[in-house]
Each structure stands twice: as structure tokens, then as C-alpha cells.
Amino acid sequence: MSIVHVTTKKELSEHLKTKKMVLLNFWAEWCGPCKMLAGVLNQLSEEFNGKIKIIKVNVEKSPDIAAEFKVMGIPHSRLIIHNKSYEPIVGYVPFEQLKQMIGI
């Protein structure tokens, strides 16, 4: 599965060097909707393994990355294509809707 967990900005920038589309997901242990979205991200990763890379950032462990992306509430996800970051997707989104939102 192409889901990776990063904790540092350096790791993140390495993982962003990809031709795949990236879905960057900010989450925390205490966040219920983040757990629900995790299931959706797993499904997305399984079904579109070759197309999408999911990068997960725990906001408690990596507050600097969360700050850089101006994360105010979680779950907060960003589609990034060739290092271009699109509008945030905030909150839980069901599988089909998320697919539509990221155009996959």
C-alpha cells in the first residue's frame, strides 16, 4: 500500500518528489473523524495503488508541518500534484465523494 507516515519536513519533501498525485492527510489519535477517514484512505490506496500516494502527518508529532499547511481543524487533507497544493479538504469525506473531489 502506498501510505507513508512522515514526521519531519525533510521526509515530507523527499516523499513529495513523486510523479504520482499525493494526498497529504493531517490527523491525530484523539480525532474520531480522522479514524473514519483513515479507512477511506486505506481503500483509496488499495484501489489506486499506482496512481496515488498517501502521506499521513500526525499533527501532535509534527506541529511544524501542520502550521506550514495552516491546519486549523482535522481531518485536513490536501491534494498535491507536482508540488502544487490544492484547496484543503476538511473533515470526513466518504470514499466516492473523495474520489470525485480529487478527480481520480
Partner: protein
């Protein structure tokens, strides 16, 4: 880090908006949550706010949001908060119906109150147009008109009867099937206020403007408007969930600045008092709670 809000303000009525303004001006990071259930949204005009007398509630909110949004540290979320919990680290987690979670250091509860009306068909159609709950807010527009007061609560019946008499002496009180004590009846009779205790069958009017009340016996009376005495309830249990002490009447125990019994939890406006006040009073309480937040943040 992930945005840790200095203060989450729950509710964007007079209290929440004014609190946001003051906290924005005080450079605090604010999350203002609004689910659009302002109690005044059903009324045509809001009265008694100096420089804003007669303003439409939607216009008031628009102007207020424009004021607030000038301050970049205020973030406005059109989300419904469903849970607020204090975390072991002392911060508050705010959960929303939209399944987004936020974290804040302090909370201002400003969610207002909502009305529970006597069980009369279509009563909400008339509320805010020709039937009101606050004589000092809306009595002027009904002055010297034939009015009705609908009240099932004796204490309030007597009080509202005498109060509304200030604006119109042509008064009928309908208790909707509730008897009144002899002393109360006597007191009202002395002012020539007619009391009808039989249940109301229905209200008649056009577009929310009352013209007639029909009682269960078929008796009818023409009235152009008046006042209702609703029960007021808080629309959520945030104060209880957070462990805020309550007064015997259910209002939240707060100090003069809106601090509750729970550290870092404040309450402002009608939700604190569990009773109707007015836009300007709620706004002032929001101002005071915001000042308390600023003062309490000084390390």
C-alpha cells in the same frame, strides 16, 4: 503547530460576534462557530440597539461579520458544534457535525436560547411578525393596538399583563386552558384586562400578521398582535458537559465578566442567563467575556 485557537466562540449572535470582535482586536486566534440558528432570525426588525434601531437581523449579522472579518486572527466556521471536551492536557476539543475537530485553549459559550411555545397550531408563523416575546423590544410597534397576551404561566401572565399595559390598554389575556388564581384575576380586572382561560383552537391572519383568535368553544376575538410567553431552553448541554455550575433556575453561574465555575470556560448572552435579554445586552456580555479572556491570558 496545528492551529491552536486561543479561544473558540460557540455561537454567532450578538454575544459571540462582539466577543469575536474584541478578541480579534486583541490579536487572539479565534474560531467562531455559527450554525445559523440565531433566535432573532424570524423577526422583521431588531430594536433598541443604539445606532441600529430597527435593523433587520440578517443585515445586523452581515455588518457584524464584516466588522469581525477585518481581523485576520478570527476564523469563521459555519459548522455546528456537537461536543466540547476538556482533554487531559487542559485544552478543549471541539467536535462538529461536519466531522471536523478543532482545539482551543478557552471557550466562550454564546449559543443563545430557543423558545418552546404553547401547543397552538401555526403559532410559529406569527412569531416575530405580529406575536413577540419581548415587550420592551417590540411593544412600540404595537402601541395602542388591540393586543393579546398568550401565557400559560400565572406569574408571567400577571407580569406581562401589567407590563404590556404600558403600550396598549386594549388587552386580552389568553391562558390556553390554564386557570388563574382569584388574586391574579382581580389584579388584571382592576386594569380592565379581559382574561380568557379556554383553550385556543387556532390563530387566523395573513402572512404571519394576526387578525383573529378562535377559542375551543367557537368564540372569536379580533386582535392584531401581541405577546407570547414561551419557555426558554438552552439548545445544547455544553455547560453541563463541561461541568459548569448552574443556578437553581438553570442559568449558568457566571461572574460579572462571564467566567463560569470551570477554568477557561466563559458564557455570554442569553445562554448564560437562560432568559431573553436583547441584542445590545448580549453584545455587551460578549464584549465583557472577551475582555476576561484577554485578561486571563496574561501570564
Amino acid at each position: 503547530m496545528m492551529e491552536l485557537f486561543d479561544c473558540a466562540i460557540i455561537g454567532a449572535g450578538g454575544a459571540g460576534l462582539n466577543a469575536s470582535l474584541i478578541l480579534g482586536r486583541s490579536r487572539k486566534k479565534v474560531a467562531l462557530f455559527d450554525n445559523g440558528t440565531n433566535r432573532n432570525r424570524v423577526t422583521q426588525e431588531s430594536h433598541g440597539f443604539l445606532t441600529r434601531d430597527g435593523i433587520k437581523p440578517a443585515k445586523f449579522k452581515e455588518v457584524a461579520l464584516n466588522d469581525v472579518e477585518k481581523y485576520p486572527s478570527v476564523h469563521y466556521f459555519q459548522n455546528t458544534v456537537i461536543n466540547i471536551t476538556k482533554q487531559p492536557n487542559g485544552l478543549f476539543k471541539i467536535e462538529t457535525l461536519e466531522e471536523v475537530e478543532y482545539v482551543a485553549e478557552r471557550i466562550i459559550l454564546a449559543t443563545g436560547i430557543q423558545e418552546e411555545f404553547p401547543s397552538i397550531p401555526d403559532i410559529r408563523k406569527y412569531y416575530g411578525k405580529s406575536l413577540f416575546s419581548c415587550p420592551t423590544c417590540d411593544g412600540w410597534e404595537l402601541r395602542d393596538q388591540p393586543l393579546i397576551i398568550i401565557s400559560e404561566n400565572e406569574e408571567q401572565t400577571l407580569f406581562k399583563g401589567k407590563l404590556v399595559y404600558n403600550w396598549s390598554e386594549d388587552l386580552v389575556i389568553a391562558t390556553n386552558g390554564h386557570e388563574l388564581s382569584a388574586p391574579a384575576l382581580n389584579a388584571l380586572e382592576r386594569k380592565d384586562i379581559t382574561v380568557i382561560t379556554e383553550p385556543i383552537q387556532n390563530l387566523h391572519g395573513v402572512d404571519g400578521y394576526l387578525n383573529k383568535i378562535v377559542f375551543s368553544s367557537g368564540f372569536e376575538i379580533e386582535r392584531v398582535g401581541g405577546f407570547i410567553v414561551p419557555n426558554f431552553v438552552r439548545p445544547n448541554r455544553f455547560a453541563e458537559q463541561l461541568g459548569c455550575h448552574l443556578n437553581e433556575n438553570g442559568s449558568i453561574v457566571v461572574d460579572a465578566a462571564g467566567r463560569t465555575s470551570q477554568e477557561n470556560v466563559y458564557a455570554a448572552g442569553e445562554t448564560a442567563n437562560l432568559g431573553q435579554s436583547s441584542l445590545i445586552v448580549a453584545a455587551a456580555e460578549g464584549y465583557k467575556a472577551a475582555m476576561a479572556v484577554v485578561f486571563d491570558s496574561i501570564i
